[in-house]
Amino acid sequence: MRNDSSGNDPRTIWQNQPTEPSVMTLEKIRRKTQELRARTRRTLLRGITAPLLVAGISGYGIASGDSPMMRAIFSFTIAWSMAGQYFVNRGMWSAALPDDAALSTGLESYRREVEHRRDLFGRFLLWTLGPVVLALTTFIALLLSFGIRNRGMPLKGTLLNMVPFLSLLVIWAVGVFVIRMRDRRELQREINELNDAERESAR
């Protein structure tokens, strides 16, 4: 510890701050494990929203459409979205630290976390947003084909009422895509910086 009587010495300020160290008791560990499981359950439940949306749109599309090709696309979208639940959420239940976290240096473990985050965003785009976009596009195509074939007549009913909802969905999908892509770019930039730091350190 450094003996500096100056009240402005950052290390003195830092080390003399009041703290209330907490120690893990068995009771706290048990509670923490439950909390982690509850948090994972909440995240999984939130993740079900997109597949439900896809199932709703595609189910309606299958019931309303008469083209076998469109029905096949809607069925594929449902299957894609369901499979996506596995790929997006795998490994969610293990709240543990990676086995070698303490043996890896700060740089290595931090880069692994950033890469994990970047891959998670990629998986979200492919397995969650992808089916939503396909379901939406096919549904809009279905609406347009109805309109063209029947000179706009069916659009006056329920389908026309869906236009604001579908427009909102399209805006949401575009917004999510743009934000996630920007975040991925930021994370990739961070990985590049960490790689540079590692290269410099290896010299």
Binding site: R2, S22, V23, A101, S201
Partner: protein, 181 residues
């Protein structure tokens, strides 16, 4: 070393190792949590997460590195993951290099300790996690070699970052650059 004891005493050893580490580094871990999370509620959660993961990690402790390095590596790992999870706009975090360029307010030589601590915490919380690891270690009086061991940066790289840290702190806290190690 207790970490290499037989598996029959593994659980006991894990608890002992954890208890010793918590006794020795408990205050440092609280300060570390403060450097990563400004919100007191979330900070308490983060602190508990660090202790929880530290307890779990000691199951695998094999004395390949010192207990201090082990503790800091685990703590920084948990805290950096927390930053990545919580941070909505990752791009707002800056590197030491960028922070050195930013103009900092000088609050005078005799500002209140609490105010100074708040300013110091805010300054650290602006930094990207790797630079945060270096500045926290520096503030904890950890030597450059050990900082290199914790972070994985070379001694030259650590020295360069510490030099920047000293400049930033000197400008903002009236600390002479030559004071620090």
């Amino acid at each position: 070393m207790r970490g290499t004891e037989s598996s029959s005493t593994g659980a006991e050893s894990q608890d002992d190792l954890y208890r010793d580490a918590a006794d020795k580094f408990g205050s440092s871990l609280e300060r570390l949590a403060r450097a990563y999370e400004a919100d007191p509620e979330k900070r308490r959660d983060l602190s508990q997460d660090i202790h929880f993961q530290l307890w779990r990690s000691f199951q695998r402790y094999d004395a390949r590195c010192s207990v201090r390095t082990w503790v800091y590596r685990v703590a920084h790992h948990v805290a950096a993951s927390h930053v990545l999870r919580e941070r909505r706009t990752f791009s707002k975090l800056v590197s030491l290099e960028e922070l050195e360029m930013l103009p900092g307010k000088d609050h005078g030589q005799f500002a209140d300790q609490g105010v100074n601590l708040e300013r110091l915490s805010m300054l650290i919380q602006q930094l990207k996690p790797l630079d945060r690891q270096v500045i926290i270690s520096y503030l904890e009086d950890i030597d450059a070699e050990s900082i290199g061991e914790i972070t994985g940066l070379s001694s030259g790289n650590v020295a360069m970052r510490i030099h920047r840290i000293k400049n930033i702190l000197a400008r903002r806290f009236h600390e002479g650059g030559g004071h620090a190690k």
